[in-house]
């Protein structure tokens, strides 16, 4: 199951994040790809806000993992870019397979340690800065893709 949405403004990013936050469940895995500067961390920042996390979310690149605790769902924010030539890091296992939400930037670099069932989001920067976002999910994530498709079209594209 796959869908594509268009993000034109930061406001759209925020709406997309709000919809996503509604659909999260314990153990949710969200993989993100997109070039440097395409907005992966910006999206995650908005997601954290809509999950009710008060702390300032900033880049996890240096430590690879930053964790944010919340009474409803914990957020585990990872940037695995530097694991490209290694392919895994067992210290991340407990988080990815834990009961919080894992957002993994550059997830293809640790593909072997990820399950098939997860949500894959790829951000492509078009001309004039518009973001073409491809959202793909199998198994339990098919409904998530459908819901995003439906709600985003209703709330953003038609407004």
């Amino acid at each position: 199951m796959e869908t594509k949405i268009q993000i034109k403004t930061l406001d759209d990013t925020d709406k997309f994040a709000a919809i996503m936050a509604d659909l999260l469940f314990p153990g949710f895995i969200l993989g993100l790809t997109g070039d440097l500067g395409s907005g992966k961390t910006t999206f995650t920042k908005h997601l954290a806000k809509h999950m009710g996390i008060k702390a300032n979310l900033n880049s996890p690149t240096f430590t690879i993992l930053k964790t944010y605790n919340h009474e409803k769902l914990n957020l585990y924010h990872m940037d695995v870019y530097r694991l490209e030539d290694i392919g895994y890091d067992y210290e991340l296992d407990d988080f990815i397979y834990g009961d919080g939400v894992s957002v993994i930037e550059w997830y293809p670099y640790i593909q072997t340690m990820l399950p098939n069932d997860m949500l894959r989001v790829s951000i492509c920067v078009g001309e004039n800065g518009t973001r073409e976002v491809t959202i793909q999910g199998e198994g339990g994530y098919e409904d998530v893709v459908k819901a995003i498709d439906h709600r985003y079209r209703n709330e953003v594209h038609l407004s």
């Binding site: 440097l36 961390t41 920042k45 300032n56 900033n58 690149t61 240096f62 430590t63 690879i64 530097r82």
Partner: protein, 334 residues
């Protein structure tokens, strides 16, 4: 008071003994930089394994250099966070072993307080002061009204400044770590390109480097598409000017607002020559202190000294529930 410091938050295994928060009797640092270089940055699991390999030697050497025995120590100070969780746990547990075995009290120290206190080794703090903390993982302005009191005035909303350096270096095809390379090339260039100064006029003390990073990346990309040659030295210089303009402007704003007596610059990016020069040129009314190079990067002497002052302020120890924490607020655990 003899304080043993232990630091393992990232890719340096370090143990130090200091006396009365001032005199450094030993400061042994085992760096893993050559191992992580080929991966373009520190890899957590590799870092943990290297800490385990090196930690016994580093403890032994630090005690030998200081010509002291464990039983003569008064306090053990260990970095509890923030940092790589696996790496932190190795330092914390090694410190606990010594603490338990020799009945020496233990105290957990925030890594950033260590970087700030690195300046107090060579100079004496005068309060109030502003600390600008700049490294691969941090960009923060902190107000100190007295010893071991920290008020975070602002921080980066996205990328840390050292990380922006690394990412720009990556795009230009320069080796890791990007900071020192970009700094060196910047000295040979002129400010040919106009880069934005994000948040330089904002009403707060926060920073943002993500937009600048994107701007730099896009320009490089567009120039390549047009087959225009990127002048790397000028590119580095233009980026460095933009970054240091923002850092210095925000520091001056905090200085004026809080009428402080000193500025201390802390963290790995404090080694940047462009930042050092601009700070000293533009702030002439009060002293600006940069730690010497050996105390700029991660080391246990700064943790030991910070631990001494933390104990002086709070007059209490931690128990064996003390644990590492990857993300830690500067005022947590007090």
């Amino acid at each position: 008071m003899y304080v043993l410091g232990v630091e393992t938050s990232c890719d340096e295994t370090s143990v130090s003994v200091t006396k009365d928060g001032k005199e450094v009797l030993s400061n042994v640092v085992l760096s893993q930089i050559d191992i992580h270089k080929e991966y373009g940055g520190v890899v957590p699991e590799i870092a943990s394994r290297e800490h385990i390999k090196g930690i016994t030697y580093v403890f032994d050497q630090a005690m030998k250099d200081a010509k002291i025995e464990y039983k003569d120590l008064d306090l053990i100070a260990v970095t509890q966070g923030p940092g790589l969780i696996g790496s932190l746990l190795i330092g914390v547990n090694a410190a606990k072993v010594i603490s338990l075995n020799y009945h020496i009290p233990i105290i957990g120290v925030h890594h950033i307080t260590g970087h700030i206190y690195a300046s107090n080794i060579e100079h004496d703090f005068e309060f109030p002061l502003i600390a600008l903390v700049v490294s691969g993982g941090h960009t923060e302005l902190i107000l100190m009204k007295e010893h071991f009191s920290f008020e975070k005035l602002g921080e980066t909303q996205d990328d840390a400044v050292g990380e922006a350096y690394d990412k720009v270096a990556r795009v230009l095809g320069l080796p890791y770590p990007g900071g020192p390379v970009v700094d060196r090339l910047a000295k040979q260039g002129v400010e040919e390109y106009q880069f934005p100064r994000p948040m330089i006029d904002s009403d707060d003390f926060n920073f943002s480097f993500s937009g600048l990073k994107s701007h730099v990346i896009n320009l490089n990309h567009n120039m390549q598409q047009r087959n225009e040659e990127v002048h790397v030295e000028n590119f580095c210089r233009s980026f460095q000017e933009a970054v240091t303009d923002v850092l210095v402007a925000k520091t001056i704003k905090a200085k004026d607002h809080y009428q402080v007596k000193q500025i201390v610059v802390a963290g790995g990016v404090a080694a940047n020559s462009g930042l050092r020069q601009k700070m000293k040129e533009r702030i002439t009314d009060i002293p600006v202190y940069f730690p010497s190079m050996k105390y700029c990067t991660d080391n246990a002497a700064m943790i030991s000294v910070a631990g001494y002052y933390k104990y002086q302020k709070e007059q209490k120890y931690d128990d064996f529930m003390l644990n590492g924490s990857g993300r830690l607020d500067i005022n947590e655990g007090e």
